[in-house]
Amino acid sequence: MTALLEGRGICKRFGGLLAVSDVSFTLNEGEILGLIGPNGAGKTTLFNVVNGVYRSDGGTFAFAGQDITGWPPNKLVHLGMARTHQIVKPLNEMTALDNVTVGACFGRDYLRLRAAHGVAMQVLEQVHMADRANILAKHLTIAGKKRLEIARALAAKPKLLLLDEVLAGLNPTEVAKMLELIRAIRDQGVSIIMIEHLMHAVMNVSDRIMVLNFGLKIAEGKPEEVVRDPAVIEAYLGSADIADKLREVQ
């Protein structure tokens, strides 16, 4: 297996708060890595540092064999890294199609407008939003906006997709559909890191899981190993009971 993304000793500080503290990890090609941990553990911050929204206060990143430490988000997109936002950021006064076209235009292939339109239409079909192509993004439901986040990221033709809580706020049917979509994306050869609080869902789709707590990595491994880990149970799951139930669900 070859590593697609490697982080070494990543730190991020906000004033006196160490939001991410000396975290190292590797993501292999074609893998889905689940990222879990309590609220405020530093999961989103780690994403922000990976894709260059924030500058790290220490540590290095390599992506597809290239040192990308300190690169801005727009350059990383061209290299094949795309992401979604936990708090959705739709381009409100633009149609869903135009939102996704932006992703395709400025993505890995840096397409021209006409070609980008074609890709955007395809991606909207893939995420089952083709019928909403001409609706202004602000008029979409929350589930629609989350799908739009994914569609924009996919239109960039990424090698790595960072998903930040795309399941939060969806009803069970929507969750099932979204999980199906995430697997389909992986099957196209896209590697994924997904932040998620819905434990059975992460356990279900992840090849491996990494756990953060107060900025520190406290565990990493196969889903069934991680839920049995005493440190994880104490910090996040709460009781061994829950861990047992989760294993059953799986």
Binding site: V77, K89, N92, D98, T101, G103, F106, G107, R112
Partner: protein
């Protein structure tokens, strides 16, 4: 494809009418009326590139027009460049100035950017008012010989008129061309959510600097023609803050973000202003009325006339861009 856009033909027809109507009857008054309308359309539609397309409110847009006038007049009278070359030269110089400035101040967002643009207007005005080659606060006055190459002052008035109409048409075509391009899509993404735009791959720093610079070019060219026609320029006229504000009123009135809205707002506001200024009872109140108008538009029709049209006839969005 721009050739399939109705707005392109609307622009060309309007420009043709502007050229034909005063010429047919040799109507000098109409010509003077229309040249002011054209200048307003030029200023409003280039300002629209910043405010309407990119979401950055520039309170100092008039600085490009004034500086263009200064640079152009200097090139035409002191360096004896032909008028059109001098105007293009002014456009290039002012655009480069804007590019450098933009790379600095476009790091600021929202109100901070807006404040910085006011600061620039004031700074440029003070600089020019103390700049010897440009006549300090007295400004520059042209002598009648300047118009000889164009065949005398009378003909120069007509020629500058046609040139300004040309710049107006170019401004609208530029706005339309950007609106339907990939560049325009990137700008709209910045306007809607700059952080999202970066994450989607838009090089926002470069895009913002380029559009700021582009929005300076045609106003600077027009500034050269207009001040050349007027035969004089001074810092208090060239860098008038009120003129910048009026540009924003025009844009809000017509509908920011749309090509036709900027043009319509520019034209209508100019007509309203000249009516008020020439009416004996209202002439002191034109700014009060402008302010009131701006308030009404923002409160009741934030999309301006064109936004209002879109809400009545949603399909108009596809035609009246």
């Amino acid at each position: 494809m721009i050739v399939r856009r109705p707005v392109l033909y609307l622009t060309l027809i309007t420009a043709a009418l502007f050229i034909y109507l005063p010429l047919r009857t040799n109507n000098v008054l109409l010509r003077e009326d229309l040249i002011l309308v054209s200048v307003s359309v030029i200023l409003a539609s280039n300002l629209n590139l910043m405010i309407g397309y990119t979401g950055y409110v520039n309170f100092g847009h008039i600085v490009f027009y004034g500086l263009g006038g200064y640079v152009g007049l200097y090139l035409a009278t002191v360096w004896h460049w032909p008028l059109i070359v001098a105007a293009l030269g002014a456009g290039v110089v002012v655009s480069l100035f804007a590019l450098l400035l933009g790379l600095g101040i476009l790091r600021l967002r929202g109100a901070y950017f807006a404040l910085a643009t006011i600061g620039i207007l004031q700074a440029v005005q003070s600089f020019v008012a103390n700049f010897d080659p440009w006549g300090r606060s007295t400004g520059m006055y042209l002598s009648f010989e300047v118009y000889e190459p164009l065949g005398g002052a009378m003909r120069a008035l007509w020629i500058t008129y046609y040139l300004v109409i040309g710049v107006m048409a170019l401004s609208l075509i530029l706005s339309l061309g950007i609106k339907i391009s990939k560049f325009g899509l990137g700008l709209f993404a910045i306007r809607e959510d700059e952080d999202a735009a970066v994450v989607l791959g838009v090089n926002t720093t470069v895009y913002k600097a380029i559009i700021y610079s582009v929005s300076a070019f045609l106003p600077a060219v027009a500034g050269t023609f207009m001040y050349y026609k007027n035969g004089m320029i001074d810092p208090s006229i060239a860098f008038e803050f009120i003129a910048s504000l009026e540009g924003i009123v025009m844009l809000m009135l017509g509908g920011k973000g749309t090509v036709v809205g900027a043009a319509l707002g520019g034209g209508l506001y100019e007509k309203l202003r000249s009516y008020l200024l020439t009416s004996p009872r209202l002439s002191n109140f034109h700014l009060v009325i402008a302010g009131g108008l701006l308030l009404l538009v923002i409160l009741f029709a934030p999309g301006g006339l064109i936004g209002w049209l879109y809400s009545l006839v949603p399909r108009a969005r596809k035609v009246i861009e």
